[in-house]
Symmetry: C2
Subunit: 427 residues, 2 copies
């Protein structure tokens, strides 16, 4: 984790470990507008890293509706438990996120660190402790010294400003090689509203530098139950359809905040309100954009891989087959080797445990059909497939020929760099 | 796959790719006795490899009871389907196994190749086609030219001899770096009987060089239904408790043959016959020995890793948690890096979806407790753990503190060599 540039550098990209930005990183970082009712600030609390920011505060001066989805891990981090308990109130005034320490598997001291962080933030922001939401990412099992936030919290609230999204995204990075930002606008019953988001991932899920975290902010006036439904439905085909290594973090967290500062818009109480259709599309677009950036920053990734499964007996079955392919080390290493190895895809389909009939299976790499009706496609042009496999973005499609179930997941290849990142760093 | 030594070389180990024998290979290869009623022979049919044997015949001149367990893949190979259909008869006269081609995802031509192979073997051995059992391992999706066996089958039957286990184990190797052989004897109601076995694995399950195959032979007189029960129960804690990469082959096959040539022993009709107790122990020992050798030859493996889970709510739950740990790329790369990264173990426990309470969890690496009651063990001596992690064989134990469920699986580490073996070979 050495070699981070100093925060405040003009070029956001330069925040990554020098020279190590993923080749799949987006070419540009979006210009992030303000979201009325949201102010952000960052600081260097010295949790683990030297010479960079590691704590981010978002403050909602007039409050916000809040919704959240969390890891399914049976051993979640202390901040996940904190948020899960408080999300039911639907009301937030502040969000504090730190990098460098995940506050996971830290037992009682972890719960105490959450309570202290929230107390410090509440005092600085002038709100209730229960209105403070928390997330942490970094090493597991080391106590989080939350007293380090004591000196910085009041300054953060004072310094927070509406245009600090880039700095906020940088402060929460761990093994990420670039900050992940997305923005969209939508019409809500005649009023234009904004949706901003940022995320961190990398080893989506590398629980050492733990975790996929994402935060979304809007000025749309959406009641908490409606926002919760929107978010729960929105992650299904975005964050839950991305996998780097199949490992599930103790800390995965997506939180959405709606300040309601766009007062000209009507307050939306139900997720199925027809006026919400354009907003939902834009909101899901932000989630999808951030999720794709997580896959693009998969540890050691050199290829972005889209897995499309169609003709399954259901969408659920297609998802399970797509994830079986996406998480197969043998498929992922073959793609790293630029090898259209459909035999391994057959294997991964077979092991998913879902209905599949080998004799109806067809497989495409980069739009070229390589297998058809239980055997190699006789028309398969090895040179064309080989050229397709050299591209940085590859679509692998499987048609099962059984029904109309279809799904799509994103992943990346498995390279020696993944092993180096996850195996070499301490030995 | 270049660089294979010529078959017939005095030292069996030399059959592996020069210089590439797994550092975890057993130091010696067992001296295999004959099993009365079993003759074996090998030949070079030129299926894929040059300058080595690639087909193995076992012939049971007086017949044998047969039992089998097969991959759970929904897309099994043609030989798996062949065996599954015929195993119900319980009667075998011959076994033909080829390497170089898995005859998987080969559609109608695959079924025809099985039929032709069995026809050729039946003609040579003078038995019914339905008494011939088949297995294939190698590339997927390429038609198997079974007519290549035409010239060799009669010679194989004529040349077969009782002491050719070493040659047989070599002929079925693909990416294996050493042949896998095991033998045991047991008393069966006062008569000594022999149990021989050989296997191939490597990428246990690398479906390119597809498959884990194992074959066990005994002269004990055991009826097919009893043998089937013995085998089905025997694989649970042996072959089914080993994982290299979590990928499931289209071709995994374990077949057991009992010739009954030990005529002084009583014919055993039921698996729960108390006279079978010592035999069962020896039989399971052979399966366990072969399964461990498969883990020791995991592609790129540098560490043999035993995962022990105890205190789970059931054995089934302990197995699921153990496999979640064993298949976690983050745990496996940490072990490759000689890093006692218990945070990743917590993650893998959490993602298994089984009952687990973080605050009761304890974790040991190499017998040293590193985590205890929801936090890092305060007594944890980093230097001692670091020394333990440098050993070629490592036990990782997790205690859940919930119940009495216990289980154990074997795996290996995930190294850059695994990625190289599976990603570099074609590009």
């Amino acid at each position: 984790m050495d070699g981070w540039d100093k925060p405040g550098h003009a070029e956001l990209m330069s925040f990554a470990v020098a020279g190590a930005i993923s080749p799949l990183a987006p070419k540009t970082i979006p210009d992030m507008p303000a979201v009325a009712g949201v102010r952000l600030a960052t600081a260097a609390a010295g949790i683990r890293y030297q010479g960079r920011t590691d704590v981010m505060l978002a403050v909602f001066d007039a409050g916000a509706s809040v919704a959240g989805v969390f890891t399914r891990s049976k051993c979640p981090s202390a901040p996940v438990e904190w948020c899960r308990t408080r999300i039911k109130t639907g009301r937030a005034r502040a969000l504090v996120v730190n990098s460098g320490n995940a506050n996971a598997f830290t037992g009682k001291s972890g719960r105490a660190a959450c309570a202290l962080t929230a107390k410090l933030a509440a005092a600085a922001a002038g709100c209730k402790i229960a209105e403070v939401f928390l997330a942490s990412t970094g090493v597991i099992g080391e106590p989080l010294r939350a007293d380090a936030f004591d000196g910085v919290m009041a300054n953060l609230v004072a310094a927070a400003k509406p245009d600090a999204y880039g700095e906020a995204a940088k402060a929460i990075m761990t093994t990420d090689t670039f900050p992940k930002l997305a923005t969209a606008s939508a019409r809500l019953a005649g009023t234009t509203v904004t949706i901003n988001g940022f995320a961190k991932g990398a080893g989506m899920i590398a629980p050492d530098m733990a975790t996929m975290l994402a935060f979304v902010f809007t000025d749309a006036p959406i009641a908490a139950p409606a926002l919760q439904t929107l978010l729960r439905e929105g992650v299904v085909d975005t964050f839950n359809a991305v996998t780097v290594d199949g490992d599930t973090s103790t800390s995965d967290t997506v939180l959405a905040f709606a300040t309601g500062a766009a007062r000209a818009a009507p307050r939306i109480m139900r997720a199925n309100d027809p006026r919400l259709v354009p907003f939902r599309k834009a909101f899901n677009g932000v989630l999808a954009n951030l999720a794709e950036q997580v896959a693009r920053d998969g540890e050691g990734a050199r290829k972005l891989v889209e897995i499309v499964v169609e003709g399954a007996v259901s969408k659920h079955s297609a998802r399970r087959i797509a994830l079986s392919i996406a998480n197969s080390p043998l498929v992922k290493t073959a793609i790293a080797g630029e090898d259209a190895n459909w035999g391994r895809v057959v294997m991964a389909v077979g092991k998913a445990g879902e209905p599949a009939d080998r004799d109806r299976l067809a497989i495409w790499f980069g739009g070229i059909r390589v297998a058809h009706r239980g055997a190699r496609d006789p028309a398969y042009d090895e040179a064309a497939v080989s050229a397709a496999m050299k591209k940085p973005e590859i679509t692998l499609k499987v048609a099962l020929g059984l029904g109309t179930g279809r799904d799509r997941v994103l992943t990346c290849d498995l390279t020696k760099e993944y092993v180096a990142i996850n195996g070499d760093y301490r030995s």
